[in-house]
């Protein structure tokens, strides 16, 4: 085809082996496949070790659950990982064994592979076993998916919450987080204080683009969407400070949309609420306008939730 031979084709000679021995010697210096398998196993081993050794909510928040919601999610993560690791190992071992054993070598140059259509027994086996693995994963998955709808620590019989809970409205703005405490009539921006050991009902909404509310040490995230209210239950086991961030891209300031969750002991929390109600400024229309304007602002505290 004239059209495709516009380049000059020279008979260049890539390196040729002089004879069979030359080829064997050259190939012998290539890294044998066994060492690659070893490297792979080391990688997997490191992974497992790394995961089990991760117990710091600062560095490994997803793997160091600090509350019951995060803990349920964490157990599923580990369980699914182990199931999948077993599958990976089984397939890798089979795969590497086959490609090493059946590779073309100079001494099997006249081997003619048999024409095999299939094997009903094997094919059934490797269809049924994955189905069983999926079922094994699906059962606890569905159970926990339903469980997380309800607040942590509910009475099994009545699904009614045991003890107190607190409701906090969360509004994502560009690019800050606003927390309104309806029962306490106070508002904070870019930080939220909660009582430790008490389930918190976060009511999520957005006044602008969608976002997601994520405090990895305490639990998974949920979307904040305009004109919609979504409920997210979280709880901190004990007092501490946990990082929260927005996890849905919403524009140029999105990477800075972090907030702090401070879990205080219930007494400390009550004291804090009182001090805010007494000493913090009221929410003015000006402050509300500043909050609504796209940009970054620091931490703010108000002793009312509706602007005047």
């Amino acid at each position: 085809m004239v059209s495709l031979s516009i380049v000059v084709c020279k008979r260049g000679a890539p390196r040729k082996f002089r004879n069979r021995q030359d080829r064997r010697e050259t190939k012998a210096t290539m890294k044998p496949k066994g060492r690659r398998v070893g490297g792979l196993i080391a990688l997997i081993g490191f992974t497992v070790l790394a995961l089990t050794g991760c117990d710091s909510p600062t560095y490994w928040p997803v793997l160091s659950p600090q509350g019951p919601v995060a803990r349920s999610e964490y157990y599923l993560i580990i369980y699914s990982f182990i199931l999948m690791l077993l599958v990976v190992l089984a397939v890798f071992i089979l795969f590497f064994w086959v490609i090493i054993k059946y590779r073309a070598r100079p001494d099997n140059a006249d081997y003619v592979p048999p024409e095999i259509e299939g094997n009903a027994k094997l094919e059934t086996l490797w269809t049924v076993i994955p189905i069983l693995v999926v079922i094994a994963l699906a059962i606890p998955t569905v159970a926990v998916t339903y469980k997380l709808v309800y607040p942590p620590k509910v009475e099994a019989a009545t699904a009614k919450i045991v003890g107190k809970s607190i409701t906090i409205d969360v509004i994502s703005e560009q690019w800050k987080w606003v927390f309104k405490y309806p029962a306490q009539n106070i508002e904070t921006v870019n930080y939220v204080n909660i009582p430790a050991g008490v389930p918190v009902d976060f009511e999520l909404t957005s006044s602008g683009p969608m976002n997601t509310f994520w405090v990895p040490a305490l639990g998974g995230m949920e979307f904040t969407m305009p004109n919609m209210n979504l409920k997210l239950w979280l709880e901190a086991d004990h007092p501490g400070s946990y990082l929260g961030r927005g996890a849905q891209y919403s524009g140029r300031g999105f990477a800075h949309m972090t907030f702090t969750v401070n879990a205080l002991s219930p007494t400390d929390f009550e004291n804090w609420v009182k001090s805010v109600q007494q000493t913090a400024p009221k929410l003015t229309k000006q402050a509300e306008a500043q909050i609504n304007r796209p940009g970054l602002i620091g931490k703010l505290t108000f002793s009312s939730t509706t602007p005047e």
């Binding site: 085809m1 089979l94 073309a104 048999p114 299939g118 709808v149 602008g208 969608m210």
Partner: protein, 660 residues
């Protein structure tokens, strides 16, 4: 004075429109674009190739050439998308870097994702459709060659429009998923997002046309004797993928159109106010989006079956199961889309259903992996570069797919969603699956496309550098997810231990860049010095495309072969048969479609119309639209669009190939 003021106004407008005040990245891009364009014009003029370009390439309706053009475009887009990726990884190599501003980073991650999926993976896949399917089923071209050309040129002009956005008006910055309400005018004014909506709409039309084309081709144009269960695995995968395209892409077209109408004409489908429901866009987008990723992987699975079988010198193990599993994957792919937004509060019933349906897809995929392994079992494995790439898919896609099953657990996904765990998962499936597969197909079909083989030694360097670089880049990102790092952050703070992990990842990314350079060098080296494919069958292949010369003649087969079983060419070789059948059967004139410049011109008019919608220059949009209508009307009245190849020419070609 007034003249000066308005001159000033024009200059101001131009500086703002072309973003000349936004720094060196823009200037460098402008410089490179101008150099490349000038370079192309100079070369074409100096070697007097304008007529050749028009006659042989811009007006062709030949599937083989259209396939080559798709592959060239895909490789160029791989370069552009990869550069975007390297820029991102450079910015993220250490905490608090400001190599890229937030605005630029946001545009770059958006164009990276959009280009890689829609302007790199799709054309590469569709390029393979074109290069291989008509040859594999023993016919002369696709069912609708003129439409095939339109599909390509629409993609080409859509990609051109999209790529210009960085230097003309600004690229979209809403992510390749482009969720409202952020991408509505209220939060994201300007032409950027319009580029996304218009370019994707235009290329979407081309893709739907491709789906129709290949569906009909495979249904109606198989050689006599080629029943469905005798088709090559790659052709099966194209058939199944075409069905997915036809059901999925119209949904995307609607979602994009509604959003464009919101932005250009002020409607309220997905806005914050006026009764808009942004979540509906998310549903529509992902209803398309999930089948889309199966569109880019199923043909790779088909290709892998071909490559593994060929280089094991053994037929595919469990052909029927392979077919059934592909169909199962295709059907299941339409009932998993909500897993992209488990965290949107759909409720436990919905989340549970979609979680289990997502896990279920792993089952037919697992069947395929085992069938590939057992194809190799008792075979004799030759590790040519094409085989290395297909084999490389297996461990990588396994990791990708199984982390996908981990993501399918809704409560776990509440932690993984939008984190780097997710990014690592989809790069393992998209690069480890699609990109590795594309490289496999390139090395495998390169001789068939160009008549020359790519160098094996360079190919091994390319493979291993990329394999190692890819794993170094993306494996650590699973850990970043557990460490709480979210996607699409243009920078991140120190103090969480993310710096070292990101640095390792960046090193891996640059290794992938090196591998790409090796690949390009391989192409150039092989063009000059590569081994010519003189037989048309360099790999001792099993399917009909290897029965033709390399490249195949314009009409593919002088006599349409009669197929007697699976692996039709292998059977013919075993029985000592020639592709032209028993000697003495006379050739007859072959009916072929004419070249046409209208697909190219019509697509250019789509470009003009598209630019009009992007910038809301309605005169331009109307001119483009009227032009498109005129082109279509002209085609309707085109009665004489084919010719016959005379017997003398066929005899000459076949004699030169040693087949008379």
């Amino acid at each position: 004075m007034k003249g000066e003021a308005s001159m000033h106004g024009v200059v101001n407008w131009a500086v703002h429109f072309f973003m000349l005040d936004e720094g060196p990245l823009i200037w460098l891009s402008d410089f490179l674009i101008i150099c490349a364009s000038l370079g192309i014009v100079v070369v074409l003029t100096k070697f007097r190739l304008w007529k050749w370009l028009w006659d042989e390439w811009l007006t062709t309706v030949d599937h083989k050439k259209i396939g080559i053009m798709y592959m060239i475009a895909a490789i160029l887009m791989l370069f552009r998308g990869g550069t975007d990726g390297l820029l991102m990884r450079a910015q993220l190599a250490w905490p608090n870097m400001h190599f890229l501003s937030a605005d630029h980073y946001d545009q770059i991650f958006t164009t990276h994702g959009t280009i890689m999926i829609l302007f790199m993976a799709m054309p590469a896949i569709i390029g393979f459709f074109n290069v291989a399917v008509p040859l594999q089923i023993g016919c002369r071209d696709v069912a609708f060659p003129y439409l095939n050309a339109i599909s390509f040129w629409l993609f080409f002009f859509a990609a051109l429009l999209f790529n210009l956005s960085f230097v003309v008006g600004g690229s979209p910055d809403g992510g390749w998923t482009s969720y409202p309400p952020y991408v509505e005018n209220q939060f994201d004014p300007g032409p950027g997002e319009n580029y996304y909506l218009v370019a994707l709409s235009i290329t979407g039309i081309g893709t739907i046309a491709t789906g129709i084309n290949f569906l009909v081709t495979i249904l109606r144009m198989r050689a006599p004797g080629m029943t469905f269960m005798r088709m090559p695995m790659f052709t099966w995968s194209v058939f199944v993928t075409s069905v997915i395209i036809l059901f999925a892409f119209p949904v995307l077209a609607v979602a994009l159109a509604l959003l464009l109408i919101d932005r250009d004409f002020g409607s309220h489908f997905f806005t914050v106010d006026g009764g808009g429901a942004p979540m509906q866009y998310v549903n529509l987008f992902w209803f398309w989006g999930h089948p889309e990723v199966y569109i880019v992987i199923l043909p790779i699975f088909g290709l892998m079956s071909e490559v593994i079988s060929t280089f094991s010198h053994k037929r595919i193990f469990g052909y029927s199961a392979m077919v059934v599993s592909m169909v199962a994957i295709a059907i299941l792919s339409f009932v998993t889309w909500v897993h992209h937004f488990f965290t949107m509060g759909a409720g436990p019933g919905v989340n549970s259903f979609f979680g289990v349906s997502t896990m279920a897809i792993a089952i037919p995929t697992g069947v395929k992996v085992f069938n590939w392994i057992f194809t190799m079992h008792k075979g004799r494995l030759e590790f040519k570069t094409a085989m290395l790439w297909s084999l490389g898919v297996i461990p990588n896609f396994l990791i990708g797919g199984l982390t996908g099953v981990m993501l399918a657990v809704p409560p776990a996904d509440y932690q993984y969603h939008n984190s780097y765990f997710l990014i690592a998962h989809f790069h393992y499936t998209l690069i480890g699956g699609t990109v590795f597969g594309v490289f496999s197909g390139l090395y495998y079909w390169w001789p068939k496309m160009f008549g020359v083989l790519l160098n094996e030694k360079l190919g091994r360097w390319h493979f291993w550098t990329f394999m190692i670089g890819f794993n170094i880049c993306f494996f650590p990102q699973f850990f970043l997810g557990f460490m709480g790092m979210t996607r699409r952050m243009y920078t991140y703070p120190a103090g969480y231990g993310w710096g070292v992990v990101n640095l390792i990842s960046t090193i891996g990314a640059f290794l992938m860049g090196v591998a790409f350079i090796i690949f390009v060098y391989n192409i150039l080296w092989s063009a000059r010095y590569g081994e010519r494919d003189l037989t048309g069958d360099p790999w001792d292949g099993r399917t009909l495309e290897w029965a033709t010369t390399s490249p195949a003649p314009h009409y593919n087969f002088a006599i349409i072969p009669t197929v007697k079983g699976r692996d039709a060419w292998w059977l013919m070789k075993q029985n000592g048969e020639s592709i032209n059948g028993p000697k003495g059967v006379p050739f007859r004139p072959i009916h072929m479609p004419n070249n046409s410049g209208r697909p190219f011109i019509m697509s250019a008019l789509f470009f003009i119309m598209g630019a009009g919608f992007v910038f809301q220059w309605w005169i331009l949009a109307i001119i483009g639209f009227v032009g498109v209508l005129i082109s279509m009307a002209q085609r309707s009245f085109e009665y004489d669009d084919s010719h016959y190849i005379p017997v003398e020419e066929i005899e000459k070609t076949e004699a030169a190939a040693g087949r008379l």
